[in-house]
């Protein structure tokens, strides 16, 4: 089912929409370029997946072809997986992927790389605790998968102690 764009007739039509003009239903099948010149936005948010794509393409020919393989040792997600879904696995990813992700964040955020907004009242003490909890919960998950229930029980107690 590959139609070409009805406006330029060159690229494949990937944007399909129904418009009501003067009460008549009109279907349009356009490529992304023609759609955007018609003022139709396709991507809902900043196309971060696109940004990531560009970035990895750039870096694959550059000095760090291995960046896609960087892995968070807490949740286990790789940078490549993040690139595909545009969703991170846990808070630790911001540290784990920092080197490769920071330029992407800056591009998506008008160059900014420092939060200046609201700070939660308990922020100061909580950062270390956050990471400790993440690790404990990751360990609990694998303890349950490997049916090590004694360890799981001990981990649950530890989590309860930290998470107050």
């Amino acid at each position: 089912m590959k139609h070409s764009c009805e406006k330029c007739n060159k690229q494949p039509a990937t944007v399909h929409l129904t418009e009501i003009i003067d009460g008549k239903k009109i279907e349009k099948h356009l490529c992304e370029d023609c759609a955007s010149t018609e003022g139709i936005t396709i991507k809902a948010d900043v196309p971060i997946s696109q940004l990531l794509e560009d970035f990895v393409l750039q870096s694959s020919s550059g000095p760090e072809p291995e960046s896609a393989q960087i892995k968070c040792d807490v949740c286990g997600i790789t940078f490549d997986e993040f690139r595909q879904k545009a969703l991170l696995g846990c808070a630790n990813d911001y540290q784990a992927f920092e080197r490769v992700m920071l330029p992407v964040i800056q591009r998506a955020q008008e160059g900014a790389a420092q939060h200046v907004g609201k700070v939660p009242h308990r922020a100061e003490s909580s950062q270390k605790k956050q990471m400790a909890l993440l690790r404990l919960r990751a360990e609990l998950k694998s303890a349950i998968t490997s049916e090590n229930y004694e360890r799981a029980a001990a981990l649950r107690d530890q989590i309860k102690e930290v998470d107050v």
Binding site: G39, C75, Q114, Q130
Partner: protein, 351 residues
């Protein structure tokens, strides 16, 4: 309060005409928050998702955020109810789909809706009618503070509030206004607005966000930058620099239509009203299109009635799930089109 109580009328934010309501339908703020020490949702096991949902539900209900709060377990809700909530802008399409543990807490006035386990653990939404961003940010902050008394949010000194997608990181704040821009559409200037908006780092979407269809000439404009600015900076830029221009363009386009193409414009609007008053079969798309023209006619003073609040309400009550709830029966699309036409005629006082 029960879910069924919602259907007979529109939410407060849609019924009351707020500031600049000739162009601005509503203002919406959204905060993204995640619990510290829990993985983001993509890496949660089904068990952890259930644990999260139960805990967040309890804490939200215990926080007494409003006089009346209704919590809806979306995983247990029927399809029609989920669609109803989407039509009312109380949950996203994303939350309405899927099978995992998730829910939404709604205040009695429907000006607050907190989604649990959407893309982030919590999505706090505050709605106001018309241009009501100042009120909305005050309310958003109040709710965030109340929740923060009970929950420890994931926060980083450099990146601020941590979110599953880095496009929300920092403040986690998304500001949007829903605009009615029929004149810009008619004069063909809407593309220019879109391009200008993009240059100002704004996103433009259709009525229900993702999967854009600009039904009834409604457009959602929102900020894209969430990091490196304070919450009030984001609001101020949005309110002072960006949105007023779009409102001005639309008002100018209306004036220019009046001075240059008045008969054609009046003809379009009068015909729209006549069809609404006489049709026997009507799809929701056609209803949106015609109601949009009537709304324009009333706001430009070209029509005496119907009441603008009534029209706003009809935009909502003629949507598929609402129509079925209001009339209290399940219908196929054909039956809906017939029932819709009848409902509109009665609402407008025709026969």
């Amino acid at each position: 309060m029960r879910l069924g109580d919602l259907t007979q009328r529109a939410g407060e934010w849609l019924r009351v005409g707020g500031p600049m309501h000739d162009v601005v339908i509503s203002s919406r703020l959204r905060l993204a928050r995640n619990l510290a020490g829990m993985p983001f949702l993509t890496k949660c096991s089904p068990e952890q998702l259930r644990e999260l949902e139960a805990r967040l539900r309890n804490e939200i209900l215990a926080a007494s955020l409003a006089r009346e709060v209704l919590y809806i377990d979306i995983a247990a809700a029927g399809e029609l109810d989920r669609q109803l909530l989407v039509e009312r802008h109380l949950i996203s399409r994303q939350l309405s789909q899927g099978t995992h543990a998730r829910g939404v807490a709604i205040s009695g006035s429907e000006t607050v809706a907190i989604m649990v386990n959407e893309e982030d653990h919590l999505r706090v939404q505050v709605l106001r009618s018309g241009m009501g961003l100042d009120e909305a940010i005050e309310e958003t902050n109040r709710i965030d503070d109340l929740l923060e008394e009970r929950l420890n949010f994931s926060f980083h000194s450099r990146y601020g509030y941590l979110t599953a997608c880095p496009t929300n990181v920092g403040t986690g704040l998304r500001v949007s206004v829903m605009l009615h821009l029929p004149a810009l559409k008619m004069t063909g200037e809407i593309e220019k607005v879109f391009r200008a908006a993009r240059d100002m780092h704004l996103a433009v979407r259709g009525l229900y966000g993702e999967g854009t269809e600009a039904t009834g000439d409604f457009y959602q404009v929102s900020n894209q930058t969430t990091l490196g600015k304070t919450e009030s900076q984001i609001i101020e830029e949005f309110r002072n620099l960006m949105v007023p221009h779009i409102i001005d363009y639309e008002r100018q386009a209306r004036k220019s239509l009046l001075s240059k193409r008045r008969p054609a414009l009046e003809d379009k609007i009068m015909r729209a009203l006549a069809i609404l008053n006489g049709a026997r079969v009507m799809t929701s798309e056609e209803a949106m299109y015609l109601l949009s023209l009537v709304r324009l006619g009333v706001n430009m003073g070209l029509l005496d009635g119907p009441d603008i609040k009534r029209i706003n309400e009809l935009f909502l009550l003629t949507q598929p799930a609402h129509l079925q709830r209001v009339l209290n029966r399940e219908m196929n699309p054909q039956e809906r089109s017939e029932a819709r036409a009848t409902y509109i005629r009665q609402a407008l006082g025709a026969n």
